[in-house]
């Protein structure tokens, strides 16, 4: 029983990573290499 629940929990976690967004895009895409990091603030 524990093994079945463990398997389901593990695969649910793995699957969720492919549904969840990659990153807060508002922050990530606001920056370019030439801009200072403080631009994120």
């Amino acid at each position: 029983m524990e093994i079945v629940v463990s398997m389901i929990a593990f695969f649910a976690l793995v699957a969720s990573w492919f549904v969840l967004p990659s990153a807060p895009r508002a922050v990530a895409t606001a920056l370019t290499p030439s801009e200072p990091l403080s631009a994120a603030a």
Partner: protein
Amino acid sequence: MDKISAGDTAWVLASAALVMLMTPGLGFFYGGLVRRKNVLSTVMHSFFILCLISVQWVLWGYSLAFGPDWKGLGIIGDLSWIGLNGVGLAPNKDYAATIPHQAYMMFQMMFAVITPALISGAFAERKRFKAFVLFSLLWATFVYDPLAHWVWGHGGWLGKLGALDFAGGTVVHISSGVSALVAAWVLGRRITHTSGEDVEPHDIPMVVLGCALLWFGWFGFNAGSALAANGLATSAFVNTNTAAAMAALTWLTISWAHKGQPSVVGATAGAVAGLVAITPAAGYVTPGASIIIGLLVSLVCYSAVMLRDKMKVDDALDVWAVHGVGGTVGALCTGLFATTVINSGASNGLFYGNPAQLWIQTIAVGAAWIFSGAMTFLILKVVNVFVPLRVSEKEEAMGLDLSQHSEVAYSPS
């Protein structure tokens, strides 16, 4: 029930902890070698794999690698030990007669963890995190687990053939090194590599720290593979330190002669190459042989780095040159220098009157190269169907720390 040895159990559990430390140590080693905008993503590769494979190993990885041989083919274990079903606290005589079976499982888990983490150095600075996750899970299941069964699993075909691999020259280093080369080739070169941007290491003290942690953990990796607190463990311990030191001295000297300065990064690369090469041989050879192996591996791996420079494959942190080639040198040297004076349960090598051992080692090396290379190519192609392997050019230019994790390693304030 067999009698459990307190000393052996303590040593194997401590060794498992030592090997566990190698993976975050590898993260520091690789993290220092990349540019500052990619250090977090690089460290994360190692840390994340520690978590991911720890669970995979308990659920099905250990059963595939060390479970009862499936249909007697010597290819893979069956699923009867899934979720550690039947893997208890009594010793398993097929693997280690004096320690709890779960202690052996735990020790082997740490090998399964670090091996895919080693590959991450090849695709540093450009692989999409989601693709990395899927690749690592598939690679551990379809490359590491079968290969571990071939060599170390009860009934594995390479083990039955007589291949000697004390702590993972073929299973860990050739598999990860060759897979790294294939991954770097499939992913393509970093955009900065083609635009001429400086790709020098951003934090060399971090590289030295990572190397030191690797070296420290490697005592568990190799001496722990004796699976007992005994003379064989001591022999492996001595050989590990000796080969690492000799290889570091040799690499330093070659790079000094080649580039005019005694490189700090070169010394660490040499130490790691020495540790890699002595891994398959540690429990079979004399200390004198470990010095020769240390010398040889730096000569060969340094040449491999120069060869990689000429190739159009961007193996970012030279995983193939150090682990793939270094593991090959170590596996073949085991076929030369192995002696039953050190390990009465093994075989002699060519220099001790048994040329057949070198042939067996060559077969093991060839099998590991072909299997891991082909399977890695296939897995990458499958992953690419579901998740693009690379980040976009914009994300790569921004750096993976921000584009993949929205964090920065070093605060500007």
